[in-house]
């Protein structure tokens, strides 16, 4: 089975549970195995948008040309707001911000870089898999409300976030999630596009 090495850079604890579970799920359909590199922002505390943006270019370069070069670089930041526009204007603007933070690496290595920008935050993706909801309906709720619903607290600690995210992500229907969330679909389509090339070079 072909192994693909990836680096994941995200803002918080939920990303480091949710995205690997998703990759594990999708890899089964493509006969490959994803292996996570050791490069990451330290998890002793959530990273926040600015820390991801500040380190994006450097970590991307390290990921592709450092000691154990990766095949794929996945990086994401929260939109931190709703986006009710038909064209997803705010989502596009934020995604562009992330692209720019990667400097020349994004233009030269676009096929191997995947960006994720959850509308509001990744907790909304998790909530869609917790309860049946109308597509793109949750993002209008406040972050505090969604955190309370997902984790049982507006200020969940690392243990709560990790435990609940892992439990939901392991059983998630990601095809369904792509129908429920625009921002997840944007991420999912990039992964599929990458796999079409990488799994069958």
């Amino acid at each position: 089975m072909k192994s693909l090495r990836y680096t994941l850079i995200g803002e918080g604890f939920a990303e480091y549970e949710f995205i690997p579970s998703y990759l594990n799920w999708i890899s089964k359909w493509h006969g490959i195995k994803f292996v996570q590199s050791k490069i990451r922002l330290p998890l002793s505390r959530p990273s926040g948008v600015s820390r991801v943006i500040e380190n994006a270019e450097f970590l991307c370069e390290q990921s592709f040309y450092g000691t154990s070069p990766a095949d794929l670089f996945i990086i994401g930041i929260d939109l931190d707001r709703a986006d009710a526009t038909d064209e997803q204007v705010h989502h596009k603007k934020r995604t562009l911000e992330l692209e720019k933070s990667l400097g020349d690496f994004y233009s030269k290595l676009k096929q191997q870089i995947i960006l994720f920008v959850p509308v509001q935050a990744i907790d909304y993706w998790i909530r869609y898999q917790q309860v049946t909801s109308v597509a793109n309906s949750l993002e209008s709720k406040s972050k505090d409300e969604i955190k309370q619903l997902v984790y049982g607290s507006k200020t969940p600690d690392r243990k709560q976030i990790t435990r609940i995210t892992r439990a939901i992500a392991e059983k998630a229907d990601f095809d369904e999630l792509a129908r429920q969330s625009h921002s997840f679909k944007h991420f999912h389509e990039q992964v599929i596009s990458f796999l079409k090339t990488a799994a069958n070079p």
């Binding site: 590199s37 490069i39 970590l59 390290q62 450092g66 030269k108």
Partner: protein, 374 residues
């Protein structure tokens, strides 16, 4: 100074080579083999001294506890004449088949001397007759003294602070547990060394200038207890001063003990030290190496200690375990920075700045030497 150490089949060290500097730093996750590297150097000395050598003992230190592996410890030192002196211990479960080899070589030419072989089970090599050593014994003395008396020091401020009974030993235990009695002995028998320690203590702490070891009554009877006097003459029991001062004093004692080590192995010397004082500890360690002609190998789990090596990445060694469970060691400059920069430049980018934020880069996992999935 030891320039190169190669180890094969010792504990997790299946095949590693380190090109050493004057002060060296080993980093890596727990159980990656850093301490095994230090233990291999201790083991070298034990085997040369022919200390307790049994099949069972050998089995415990062999790679994967597999009897088929021969342990090879190869050391290369730079001599004053510019040539290399090389020593290789070939160790098998049967001490009668174990031997040491020694030869000289030139780093600048093809010169290689004939290998001298010594049977490690030949105790006549170590026996002194009529107060004279024959030529073979003198040569073997070179092998035995090749790295001085290395010992792994894991100084524990709590143990250093404990009162001691009178004890005639004139050397420091690895954990510093005989610290007070050692200082008492030194003050009685090696006054020059004792006063040098006081002088250095004052220089580095800028506060304490005298060391006393008065007898006190404890529940275990009469004991010696360590006390420091500051420059104004105020006295403090050792457990009333900071752990940093205690550890400074412990390091001074190691270096100024009679027959000090030529090679000092220190595990996590930053333990108990405030992050802002780590630079002081490192300056102190560099000074020890420079002024006392001691070569030092440190291990650490602290990013601030690593930051102190930003200008000397060639002295940093990153330990990891491979899939087989064997230790792999990469030199930060030669095996990490140079190849990564080369790959980056070949792809049309500018190269990677590893060192301006070395400690963070380690935590980001960029250097390796980090635990899995954390």
């Amino acid at each position: 100074m030891l320039q190169r150490v190669s180890i094969q089949n010792f504990k997790s060290l299946k095949d590693v080579t380190l090109d050493l500097q004057k002060v060296n730093l080993l980093i890596g996750p727990n159980n990656s083999g850093k301490t095994n590297f230090l233990k291999a150097l201790e083991y070298y000395k034990q085997r040369c001294e022919n200390e307790y050598y049994s099949f069972e003992d050998f089995d415990r230190v062999q790679y994967k506890h597999d009897k088929q592996f021969e342990i090879i410890l190869s050391l290369t030192a730079l001599q004053k004449n510019g040539n290399h002196l090389n020593v290789e211990l070939l160790l098998t479960p049967d001490v009668n088949e174990s031997e040491a080899q020694m030869w000289e070589s030139s780093p600048k030419s093809d010169f290689i001397s004939k290998r001298e072989r010594f049977d490690l089970s030949d105790n006549t090599l170590r026996e002194r007759k009529h107060n004279r050593l024959d030529d073979r014994q003198i040569q073997f003395m070179l092998i035995r003294g090749f790295i001085g008396i290395p010992a792994i020091h894991l100084l524990d401020a709590h143990k250093l602070s404990q009162p001691n009974k009178l004890d005639p030993r004139m050397w420091i235990e690895n954990d510093g547990s005989n610290f007070t009695s050692f200082l008492f002995n030194l003050s009685q028998n090696e006054l020059d060394s004792f006063q040098e320690i006081e002088k250095q203590l004052e220089k580095y702490t800028n506060e304490f200038s005298k060391i006393l070891t008065p007898a006190v009554v404890t529940s275990e009877g009469a004991m010696l207890r360590l006390k420091l006097l500051d420059k104004q003459g105020n006295d403090y029991w050792i457990d009333e001063v900071s752990e940093g001062v205690t550890l400074f004093l412990g390091l001074l004692c190691i270096v100024y003990q009679p027959n000090p080590p030529k090679l000092l192995l220190l595990e996590e010397p930053e333990r108990g030290i405030h992050p802002r004082r780590i630079t002081e500890v490192m300056n102190f360690i560099y000074d020890l190496a420079e002024n006392n002609d001691v070569q030092i190998i440190l291990t650490t789990h602290n990013e601030h200690v690593l930051n102190d090596f930003a200008t000397r990445p060639e002295a940093v060694f990153v330990f990891d375990k491979n899939e087989e469970g064997a230790t792999e060691v990469r030199n930060l400059q030669k095996d990490i920075i140079e190849p990564s920069n080369s790959r980056s430049r070949e792809a049309g980018f500018n190269g990677i700045d590893f060192t301006s934020n070395l400690g963070d880069n380690w935590l980001y996992g960029i250097l390796g030497g980090v635990p899995e999935n954390l």
